[in-house]
Symmetry: C2
Subunit: 412 residues, 2 copies
């Protein structure tokens, strides 16, 4: 689908995780956190069992909730997702037990099987998670279910400064379909390690195999191209539920309908990726590195990621310093097989764009103009490798005093 | 050689890069920098041509001086090293030409071949390096040569807060030998990317092949186990000169003499590595991660490096926060094949030590005691993998507000 087609066919709508038919959500404070003004328990419910696909952290240390959720998702359809913030339930001897109890309690309250529940946790690790506030909170949480995803998007936040929701509408086989989601980004609580959680819902009718294929494929060019500080959490998870209520003919192969679905999924995931990067801990700027002219996709991706992951580059962007040498340096150690003497670098923002490096060497440029461009809160670094036809985009954020403050605080 | 033998045989001495017989050094301000109070040109000279070994950055972007130095070192013996700070002479169209001119000017002043000169530069990249101040400065630099390495160690500094020198004395075949060195660590000027430069000198008589073997082997467990911010510079280089003036029988194979030499080299390189890490940009603490019980050396190294490279762990250490979950998290994503359920973690400093994690789960510990331990300026994290007999050590530093300040400043 070309960009114009995409614009015509994928329309932004409200509703987040509840935009799709048949999905309900809620979020409450149940008492896991000490701070009563911050919600800590979220629920997403589909009134029709949904096919589910998920991707999980590659960290060898995996949170207990991930292990339980994986069993349930591998076992069949899912009706609900429950997620607490304030405690990651990871590296605890009784972690799996508590995650299973949570599923059981929610299943009983909703009248569904505990195998139809996905459970997620985010927060401090290595501190036992008490089931008591969760058990007490579940009835209230269930009674608060509504067609509004806002409270749920708030309840999964840790040091996120804003809730992250997005949804789109599109047509498949003459039927109007919706896909929406919510995410929590790299925030610390208490503080502890960053966790990225993404919960996506759609009413598209699609086979479990194609749903899995769609998520796995898209994540490689969206959430896997995102870095806040290079630390891979123990609790990362992205889940996509599809309940089929849009009534389209089931997507079972890579046809035009699948292409439209992929396009909708990509639109939502890119939007959430940008929100997560822009709201990285202490961040003042969203950084986007776009590589073009790569000889293959892997090269394009490796190069783009290396730039947004460089602490030196991130600190320079915080200072609005057009230090393009750091871009070249990060490309040089990325591990990608690049011809440095072909590389052009341009900085761009809504204040304009400026070429700073041609064929691996610096060019004269106005420092004043560069500073103006880099002072905006969304910066794109364009890296043309001039070596082929592949491109990629990676997202990150600047490195600021506040990142250090947030992560250097004492746990209390 | 066991630790007691090492203690008896390797003795710390003064003199740095001039501790070994026949080596002279000097450092001056020649005008590359605007700030006249900071030296910017250093020279090391051996009155007898020395065998030379070197290791270079793995960054695909390589500074022009590295390319010239490599040609000279590959070509035969070396008599002098010239190094400027204030400009990295990298990514400039005329970089190689300027580096070659520098060698030629120095060679003429010293009456040696230009092929016997090693040239190095550190500082901002992408800004042409003017040969004029270097050409003017060389006569003064040569006239200031003395048996004191201090001025040279100062002249290679960028944002380093202290000069880094170390030297040892030991005996080979009844002859007293010396090995010393100086380094500059990860400092920014202007600012630009971190560069690590190490210049080592010895009067040991050793064949070029064995010298190369010694340096390459040792660097893998010293400078290659060092990280300040994960960014690999374009200008990193470590050079080891051996002029044979100690008069020992030439070392030509892996015998007992070679073992003593390796031990001396390791002592010097570990000391310089610790100095570089502890003086990382904005650092308030030296962090050391010691992994034991690994099933092989690669696993031990990968695990140790991942911990000292984690931004989250580094920020926690800045805050003296015993957040051991971040240690486990960094081990989990290190890429090493680990059994998390076997891992024990202990924090140690000169205030004592405290076990915080056993077999992958948290244990009760005194937060007060942990805070006291982590408030010192040298912290060791002991990670016992309980899975074999291999160990490794990696060095890094905490992540502080000042790192961001130093690297976010405008270039002016």
């Amino acid at each position: 689908m070309n960009p114009t087609d995409k614009e015509n066919k994928i329309k932004s709508v409200n509703g987040g995780v509840c935009a799709a038919l048949g999905f309900y959500a809620g979020g409450i404070y149940c008492g896991i956190r000490k701070n009563r003004t911050k919600k800590d328990l979220a629920l997403v419910y589909s009134d029709t069992p949904a096919h589910a696909a998920a991707v999980y952290t590659r960290n060898l240390v995996k949170g207990a909730p991930l292990l339980v959720s994986k069993e349930h998702i591998d076992g069949g359809d899912i009706s609900a997702i429950i997620c607490n913030s304030g405690n990651a339930n990871t590296c605890n001897a009784n972690g799996k037990e508590v995650a299973e109890q949570t599923c059981k309690l929610l299943a009983d309250a909703l009248g569904i099987s505990e195998k139809a529940v996905v459970v997620a946790s985010t927060g401090v690790i290595g501190q036992p998670l008490d089931i008591t506030p969760i058990a007490k909170g579940i009835p209230a949480l269930v009674s608060e279910l509504s067609r509004d995803g806002f409270a749920a998007a708030q309840a999964i936040m840790t040091t996120d400064t804003m809730e992250k929701q997005v949804a789109v509408e599109f047509e498949i086989g003459g039927k109007t379909c919706r896909l929406g989601g919510m995410a929590k980004g790299s925030g610390m609580i208490h503080p502890d390690m960053a966790t990225m959680l993404v919960f996506l819902t759609t009413d598209v009718c699609i086979s479990p195999a194609m749903l899995k294929k769609a998520l796995k494929t898209d994540v490689d060019s969206t959430f896997n191209m995102l870095s806040v500080d290079g630390d891979t959490s123990t609790n990362d998870m992205a889940v996509l539920l599809a309940n089929g209520k849009a009534g389209n003919a089931e997507i079972t192969e890579e046809n035009d309908d699948f292409a439209v679905f992929m396009c909708a999924l990509n639109t939502v995931n890119v939007a959430l990726s940008r929100m997560i990067a822009g709201d990285g801990e202490g961040a003042t700027k969203l950084l986007e590195c776009e590589t073009t002219g790569a000889k293959d996709l892997a090269t394009a991706k490796t190069a783009a990621k290396s730039v947004v992951c460089s602490s030196l580059f991130k600190a320079a962007m915080f200072g609005a310093d057009a230090n393009w040498g750091r871009v070249l340096c990060a490309l040089g150690y990325s591990g990608a097989d690049l011809d440095i003497s072909k590389i052009d670098v341009t900085f761009r923002s809504d204040a304009g764009e400026i070429v700073v490096c041609k064929q691996g060497f610096g060019v004269d440029f106005s420092e004043e103009k560069a500073k103006e461009i880099l002072s905006r809160n969304e910066i794109t670094v364009l890296v043309n490798l001039n070596d082929g036809a592949y491109s990629a985009t990676a997202w990150g954020c600047d490195l600021t005093y506040d990142y250090v403050r947030i992560n250097g605080d004492y746990r209390t």
